[in-house]
Symmetry: C2
Subunit: 373 residues, 2 copies
């Protein structure tokens, strides 16, 4: 399902195409986050404007609200939220560990209390795959155990072993391929490399997962509080062991310098709440760095965030207006800045792909790092 199209001559950056049941995506690509079946404040029409290729959603959140029954009745997540393109769905393992009250973790799975109403639930690898089947995820992320940072090595190793075992059980539970008349046979299953900050564990985990064989390989358990250098080291090191002919996904990352670094190491996919979360906080990304629109210096800014940007917000509105909306707590302001940021990220990824195609990723990276480092 993944085709490697071109490798940059001077870096490890890769140009590829990943085919899913709801369309193909060009990689490297950044996935905006639709945790609760919506990119916060944006409509599916806005996403078309942003040329969004793929979005990310979350099994934990959707399982709790609205619940699987409702999404199944709707005909799956795509129909429920009216998004026709590809969706990668995270298992929510990370949310179980970070958001809910974790009650118990065993080799069988995790028991937790909902962060919403305290109700008790259990996730197993098989249960999570069944959630993906109900949702119709184009790309399924299996249940994994994400170690905290910092983490003692024996605990990190235990979490890694469980993650591998759970990935294996997820694969066994995956619908058999080539079943005619169902879209389930086209649901891709990725796996997640864990191992905390221990590079030997990362290597061991990658190799064992490759032996099992998956449609794609994610690097998980990063961006959990460790220093930036360490994220880059883990991502680069781990990517070096991943199969050439499969997509590589760095989970929960990120900021533009992180993306540049990881693409440089051969990573293909990213997700992060930054474009929308920062947008709701009045921060717009631009060629010249982040712009804080609530700042008083934009009071008289009667020009767009970026006069050369092609997004609806920049084609239509000025900084002064956006600042006014933010100061008066108007919902429209959050939506317009989020839209710009999602567009900006998509544009950067398009430029990255273009640069790789021309074997000029290194130059492109250096250029952008003048602003984002």
């Amino acid at each position: 399902m993944y085709k490697l199209i071109h490798e940059d001559k001077h870096t490890k950056a890769r140009l590829g195409k990943l085919v899913t049941a709801h369309g193909a995506i060009n990689t490297p690509e950044f996935m905006p986050v639709a945790t609760q079946a919506t990119i916060k404040a944006l409509s599916v029409r806005d996403l078309k404007d942003c040329k969004t290729q793929i979005i990310l959603s979350n099994a934990y959140h959707l399982y709790l609200r609205p619940g699987l029954e409702i999404i199944k009745e709707a005909g799956g997540l795509h129909k429920f939220m009216s998004w026709p393109g590809p969706i990668l769905v995270d298992s929510g393992g990370f949310q179980v560990f970070s958001l809910s009250s974790l009650m118990k973790i065993t080799d069988d799975g995790v028991e937790f209390k909902s962060h919403i109403d305290g109700s008790r639930h259990k996730f197993t690898p098989e249960g999570v795959i069944n959630i993906h089947k109900a949702l119709g995820s184009d790309i399924m992320m299996p249940l994994d155990e994400c170690a905290h940072y910092p983490c003692e090595k024996d605990k990190a190793e235990l979490a890694m072993r469980r993650t591998i075992e759970w990935a294996l059980r997820s694969k066994r539970c995956q619908a058999p391929k080539n079943v005619p008349g169902t879209f389930l046979n086209r649901q891709l299953l990725f796996c997640i490399v864990q191992g905390s900050s221990y590079l030997d564990l990362r290597k061991q985990c990658a190799k064992q997962l490759i032996d099992i064989g998956f449609d794609g390989y994610a690097i998980g358990g990063v961006s959990v509080g460790e220093p930036k250098d360490l994220i880059w080291e883990i991502a680069g090191f781990t990517a070096g062991f991943l199969p050439h002919d499969k997509p590589r996904y760095l989970m929960g990352v990120g900021e533009i310098p992180d993306i540049l670094h990881a693409v440089n190491c051969g990573v293909d996919m990213f997700d992060c709440v930054i474009p929308t979360r920062n947008g709701r906080n009045s921060v717009a990304f631009t060629r010249n760095g982040p712009m804080v629109l609530r700042d008083s210096r934009h009071t008289h800014g009667h020009i767009p965030i970026d006069p050369e940007c092609g997004c609806f917000t920049c084609r239509t509105h000025t900084r002064a207006y956006l600042r006014h909306l933010y100061k008066t707590e108007e919902i429209l302001g959050l939506a317009l800045i989020s839209l710009h940021n999602v567009y900006f990220y998509a544009k950067i990824m398009t430029e990255i792909r273009q640069a790789i195609k021309l074997d000029k990723f290194n130059q492109y990276k250096k250029q952008l790092e003048k602003t984002y480092k």
Copy 2:
């Protein structure tokens, strides 16, 4: 600037066209409210979808935030908010009396403290017209004194006399007509009939304002707590004294039965926050009455709010999805339901105009009153 096109044979309902500096509007029409230079949660693109002809904004709010200097720099309110169509701007007299801490009212004007930061300000009739000039309002509402309800007659009469005097001063301050090279000469000035619930005062006020002569006549001081029947009586009675060849505007109204009644009495223009405020509260207007989307009975509603509605929300999303967005406090839900409601109101007004054209307003009113009474 107003052309009466057709009068319904069986009621006083009127079909008309009002030409403003930013385009013509067909009347009767409902104006969605953009208090702070945005229809809450909707973009100007959404308004185009809703076939919005004219919006309403508010001098009091814009004067305080972002302030006139910024809007003047932007080239006026239309450019500031990127809305190319007509804008009626209320003086904010009502807000001075209801929202701010009113300090002092004299024949000269009103002194008040801002509801935002407590700063002191003074509005005079001339000052308000100058605000309108800065904003570039297509239709200017003059400063008036809005009596509370209930109100003793001597106080109501005093407020009425001031309103007339202030309307006269507003007219004197209005830019001279036919000044080439400026849009100011095309700013229409309406006046506001006051008189509280005293019909003789209403009549007297209307007659004196007509003697002065304005581009349009508003009925103000209604929908301030009086019983529904009384609103209808005041609106119907007052409309009977207003010039045939000028538009008539019932301020701050309203609900669909109120609109139907007032159109029936010959009123042409309306405004109210109901479509957007109710939308943000998950209430959608439909042919079958208001639909409360947060209700659990919509949990499994895998159909649009109204399958026959042509709005973006109904073309794209289901009740179950909208309920999910509301329950998970997603901004998109508020925007989508507001959009539907603004569209619905525009559609109702289009149907009202069509019915008048065919001399069938009475039938249309009766039909809609089966649901909205």
